[in-house]
């Protein structure tokens, strides 16, 4: 299979990116300064992420589409305001998660942002579920960049006037030099910021302007440490087909009204789990000392019984220590429960903790 490149490939090269293959794309894992510097720069200033490998699925339709999508997603889409976004998931009948996504109501229908590794499958699944009633475009002609961090609102507003007025999890169409761009106030770093959907031909120009205003390119390596500190899940690691949203501790993303009606794919299992509890659940895990417990590390209780596994673990540069999340048997999921992590044959003490590891203390809407 041919490895794809995003329209920003040349700019990545100019910034001395180290590349990795990710979901069939050649993506920058880091630039010359390294992951820790990039991570901290995003938290203190502003970082630009090329996430053009992610899927941008436009589905066109009106009232019927809303009804049909509510059979698929556990959201109250009827009451979702124009240009507002929600986090959700595509589930199977057993409530196993096939992808996690952001869905936004547009004036022509919906825009759904999908994970790169899942987007082609998602497209097929949705097309079948919607019985080809609606025009669906997985748009390869648009790029997607995120700009994240405290200086980002001002920097982006200097280039595209008006974006500062967007509220969190809402968006709108804007003009960048006469080109239509769709911008939402969102992101996946735990910072204030935006995601910008822009035609491929102009993404290089926009990104260079943002760099000129003081933002910097940040690689996927720092994106991973940022999202993990923020307690956010990475599909294929913290979420997959063998886990449900309730087990993943994401029930906040399920509409209460929709649960009471229970007419979406996977609702039987979701309702059962909400009523009866789950046997395993996602938790934050803080190792003592500096030991890093990575994905697949086994978790033991104080009696040396295997009770779970780490699904993401790394060093958190802002926390200045190791951070991890994983799934444990429900009875060991309470905050401050002592557990042990087996790393290179030795057991290391850790405790269950609340997520996120890092919380931004900014006032909503403040600059």
């Amino acid at each position: 299979m041919n490895i794809k490149k995003t329209p920003l490939y040349q700019l990545h090269q100019e910034n001395r990116a180290k590349f990795v293959e990710f979901a069939g794309y050649q993506m920058p894992i880091q630039y010359s300064k390294g992951i820790v510097e990039e991570h901290k720069f995003t938290r203190s200033h502003s970082g630009i992420f090329d996430v053009s490998h992610m899927g941008q699925l436009f589905i066109y339709g009106g009232e019927d589409l809303i009804k049909d999508l509510e059979k698929i997603f556990p959201l109250n889409l009827k009451n979702l305001k124009l240009n507002h976004s929600k986090y959700s998931f595509l589930m199977d009948k057993d409530a196993g998660i096939h992808d996690d996504l952001i869905i936004t109501k547009t004036n022509e229908g919906f825009l759904i942002i999908l994970n790169a590794a899942c987007k082609d499958d998602d497209f097929k699944i949705l097309k079948e579920l919607l019985e080809e009633k609606y025009k669906m475009v997985l748009d390869e002609n648009r790029s997607l960049i995120a700009i994240q961090g405290p200086k980002s609102p001002q920097i982006l507003n200097d280039v595209i006037d008006g974006v500062k007025d967007l509220n969190f999890m809402s968006g709108n169409w804007f003009l960048f030099q006469d080109h239509k761009v769709y911008i939402t106030r969102s992101g996946y770093t735990g910072e204030d910021g935006f995601e910008i959907s822009i035609p491929n031909d102009f993404v290089d120009k926009l990104t260079r302007e943002l760099i000129n205003k003081g933002s910097k390119l940040i690689g996927l390596g720092a994106r991973d440490t940022l999202r993990l500190e923020a307690g956010l899940c990475l599909y294929g690691h913290d979420l997959d087909k063998d886990k449900t949203p309730v087990e993943a501790n994401l029930k906040w993303a399920i509409s209460k009204e929709r649960i009471s009606k229970g007419d979406f794919i996977g609702s039987d299992i979701i309702i059962k789990q909400l009523n009866n509890g789950v046997s395993k659940i996602r938790v934050g895990i803080k190792p003592e000392g500096r030991i890093i417990a990575r994905e697949k590390t086994k978790i033991f209780n104080q009696l040396d019984v295997h009770i779970g596994e780490i699904t993401s673990g790394t060093f958190g540069p802002s926390v200045n220590g190791p951070v991890a999340m994983g799934y444990v048997e429900n009875e060991f999921s309470k905050k401050d429960t002592k557990v042990f992590l087996e790393v290179r044959g030795k057991k290391h003490a850790a405790s269950i903790c609340n997520l996120p590891f890092y919380k931004k203390s900014y006032v909503k809407g403040a600059n």
Partner: protein, 126 residues
């Protein structure tokens, strides 16, 4: 003067008398990225040529550190355990890993000199 030699696993080794100081090369740190965790062998333990004698972890992954010669660990550098970022800053000098009382000086013979290592490092860069 003592000559510094290099291994294919990207360690450097400097012999003074029968004590060898061992660390990882600048090239290794560039491949690893930011180092955030270090594990060193225990003082008084014995390590075997080409065996593991520690671990370094970057934000991305864990990598074993090998010893290019056999010997008894007589000292370890606690500074790089307390602040692993020192390895990125000064890998071939103050950020040494451990010192060995070596058994067999001839184990040094198969290691590379600086020119050969630089050439080797260039070729193995992917």
């Amino acid at each position: 003067m003592s000559e510094v030699k290099y291994s294919k696993e990207h360690e450097w080794i400097k012999l003074e008398g029968d004590v060898a100081t061992i660390g990882i090369t600048k090239h290794a740190t560039e491949m690893l990225g930011d180092i955030v965790f270090t594990e060193l062998p225990e003082k008084g333990s014995n390590v075997e040529k080409d065996g593991t004698a520690g671990v370094v972890e970057s934000t991305k992954a864990a990598s074993d550190v090998y010893t290019p010669v056999s010997g008894e660990v007589v000292d370890t550098n606690q500074e790089i355990v307390d602040d692993p970022s020192k390895i990125n800053q000064d890998p071939e000098n103050s950020a040494w890993f451990f010192k060995l009382k070596i058994k067999d000086k001839s184990e040094m013979d198969s290691l590379m000199n600086k020119d050969d290592y630089d050439k080797f490092a260039k070729e193995t860069t992917t």
